[in-house]
Subunit: 201 residues, 4 copies
DNA sequence: CATGAATGAGGCTTCATTCAT
DNA sequence: AATGAATGAAGCCTCATTCAT
C-alpha cells in the first residue's frame, strides 16, 4: 500500500512524542529517562535516535509542534467570533478547554517550557510568544474599538492574563480533587475579573 | 571571641545557601552541581554535607527559610496599611519589590518551587500556600468591607493574582532589557486592572 | 547462529562473576572495586549493572551459585560410596580437591561468606548450612550403623570438622610454599584424627 | 598527682581500643567509622590520631596487644597443669572461656584477623602463630611422653584444632540462641573427639 | 529501518585524615 | 593534649548515546 511505510514512520514518531509527553508530565524532563519513553512508545531505546537527535530535541519538538497545533486551534475558534470582549472570553475559555483536553501536554508546556531557557542553551520560546500575541492583539483590537481602556499596555497585560490562566491550569492539573477548580466557574470568574478590569466604564 | 564559632558556622551555612540560590537560579536545580555550589560558597564539596543531608535538602531549606522570611516582610509592610484596596496594592507592590531585590531567589522560588512536587516525593509547598493566603485574606476583608465584589471566589482569585505577578516577575527576570518591564508601571497596571475588576461599581 | 546472543550474554555474566571472584579473593570484598572487576572481565563498569543490581548482588550470586555447584559435585561423589567411614573420608578429600581446584573461589567463600552476615543485612548463609548438613548426615548414618560414637552431637561435630577443613584450606591458600601443606597428607591426617576420634572402639 | 596525666593518657588510649573492639565487632572493620569509635570512646575524632597513626594501626594494636594478653593468660593456666592430655583439654577449655568472657574481642580477632592479610599490606599474624604454637607444643610433649600418636604432624594438627575451636566460637558468637551451643558440652565434645583421635590406643 | 546490549563520562556522597583553635 | 569543623580524594551507580547485528 502506497504511503504505508511513511505512515508507519509517522506512527512511530508520533508514538514517541506522545510517550515523551506522558513520561515528562509525570516525572519532569530531567527525571524522564529515554528508556521510559521508549518503553511507553513500544520502541527500542535506539529507535528514538532515528527520529530525534537527542533527548533535548524531543522536548523542543513537543514545544514547537504542539504549540503550533494549539495556536491553530485557538485561532480557528476565534475567527468565528467578533467583538474584542467576546473574543477575549473565548480565548480564556479555549485555554481551559485545551488544558482539560490534554492535561499532560499542558503540564509539559507550562512547567518545562518555562524553565527550558535554563537548560537549553539559547532557547527562545517563540511559539509561546506567538500564543501570547493572540491575547495582546485582542487587547489592541478592543482598544481600537474603544471598548478596552487605552491606558492598558497590551504587552504587560498579555503576561498578566497568561500568568493567571497558567497558574490556575497548573493548580487544576496538580489538584487531586479537581472539583475544587471547576472549569466553568474558573473560566467565568477570571473572564469576569479581567473584563471588568479592562473595559471602559 | 564569644559566639565566634557559632557565627562562623552560620556564615558557612549562609554562604552555602546563597551559593545554591545563585547556581540553581542560573542552571536550574537538576543542572546545579554540588561542586558548583561548593565552589561559589568557597567550601569543599564535603562541607556542604555537614550542613545539609543531601542536595534536595538544600532546595527544601531555601523554600522553607526564604519563603518564611518573605512572608514575614510582606506581612510587616501590610500591617501598616488599612483598607482592602490599599492593602491589595501594597501586596502587589511588595511582590515586585522583593523580586527586584532578590531576583535569583525569586527565580528559584518561582520555577523550582512550582515543580518541586514533581521530583520531591510527597513535598507540599505549604509556604507558598501561606503566601497566597495573604492575598485571599485581603480579598475576604474587602468583601466584608463591601468594597470588593462578593461573587469573586477568593481561592480562585488568589491564584489568578499570583499567576499574574509571578509571570510578570519571571519575564522581568528573564528579560535582558529589563526596562521593557519598568517595575513601577507594571505594578501600577496590574494593580489597576485587578482592582477595577474586583471593586464593586 | 541459534542461541549465540544468549550464549554471549552468559559469557559476559560468567566473565563478570569470574572476575569478581578473582578480585575479591585478592583484595577482599570491600577493597574490590567495581572498576577492577570490570577491567578484569573486560567490560565497561556500567555493563556490570546490566547483570547485577549492585556490588553486593555479585557477592551474593557467587555465594548462591558456586555453593550450589559445589554441593552438587560433592553429593555426586558421595553417592558412589557406601559406609559412613568411607563417606566421611570422601567428604574430607573432596573438600580439599575442590579448594585446590578453585583456590580463589575457596578464599571468597571461606572468608567473605563467613563475615557476610556482618555487612549484608539479614543475610543468612543457607548454602553454607546445606554444605555442612552433608557432614552431619554422614555422622548420623554412622551412628545408626553403629560405627560412630553415639554420644557425639552431629550438629557440634559438623562445625568442628568444617572449621578444621576450612582452616587448613585457608592456610594452604595463604601459604606461599604450599608444599608445606601437601594435600594428600593433610587429608589423610585430618581424616585419621577425626575418624579415630569418632569411631567406637 | 604524679602519674595522673600518664594514667589519663592510658585511660583514653584504652577507651579507644575498647571502643574500636566494640564497633568493629558490630560492623566489621571496613564498616566501622572512626567517628563511631570516637563517639563510643567519648573522645573527639582527632584525638584518635594522637594515639594511633591511622585506622589500620588500631586494628593492628588490637591484634598485637590483645593476643599477647590472651597468650599470657592461657600460658599461665597451662603452667599449673601437667600431662599432655590434661593440658590439651585445658587449652580447649580456656579458648572457650576467653571467647565467652570477651565475645566482641573474639569476634574481631577471629574474623578480622583472618582477613587482615588481605587488606593490610604485608601483615603477618605472628601473634596468632604464637597462640597456635601453644597447641603444637602440647602435641609434641604428648608425643614425647608417648601418649599421643607419633604419626600426627603437630603443625597440621594445630590448625585443625584451631579451626574447630574457632568455628565453634564464631557460631556461638553469631548464634542468637546461644544455648544451642552450651559451652560445657561443646568443650567436652571437642576435647573428647580430638583426644580420642590423638591418643595411642 | 529497528534493536537493545554495551559503553563510559560524570554526579552525589562518604569518610579517613588534617589543622587551626 | 584535645577538639571537631573542614577537607577532598575516590567509589558506586545512572543513563544518554552508540553501534554491531
Amino acid at each position: 500500500m502506497a504511503g504505508s511505510s511513511k505512515r508507519n514512520q509517522n506512527d512511530k514518531r508520533t508514538r514517541i512524542i506522545d510517550a515523551a509527553i506522558q513520561v515528562i508530565a509525570e516525572k519532569s524532563y530531567h527525571l524522564a529517562r529515554i528508556s521510559d519513553i521508549a518503553k511507553v512508545a513500544s520502541v527500542a531505546d535506539g529507535t528514538i535516535y532515528l527520529y530525534f537527535k537527542n533527548k533535548e530535541a524531543i522536548l523542543l519538538t513537543i514545544f514547537e509542534e504542539k504549540m503550533e497545533e494549539l495556536i491553530g486551534i485557538v485561532r480557528l475558534e476565534l475567527d468565528a467570533i467578533t467583538g474584542a470582549e467576546d473574543r477575549l472570553l473565548c480565548f480564556i475559555e479555549q485555554h481551559f478547554i485545551q488544558v482539560r483536553r490534554h492535561p499532560e501536554l499542558a503540564r509539559v508546556l507550562q512547567i518545562e517550557l518555562r524553565q527550558s531557557s535554563h537548560f537549553i542553551h539559547d532557547y527562545r520560546p517563540e511559539s509561546l510568544w506567538e500564543y501570547l500575541k493572540i491575547a495582546s492583539e485582542i487587547i489592541k483590537e478592543g482598544q481600537e474599538e474603544g471598548v478596552f481602556r487605552p491606558d492598558i499596555d497590551p504587552f504587560i497585560f498579555q503576561w498578566s492574563l497568561f500568568g493567571a490562566l497558567d497558574e490556575l491550569s497548573v493548580q487544576w492539573i496538580l489538584s487531586k480533587k479537581r472539583e475544587r477548580f471547576p472549569f466553568q466557574q474558573v473560566a467565568q470568574q477570571i473572564g469576569s475579573v479581567f473584563l471588568s478590569g479592562l473595559t471602559t466604564k
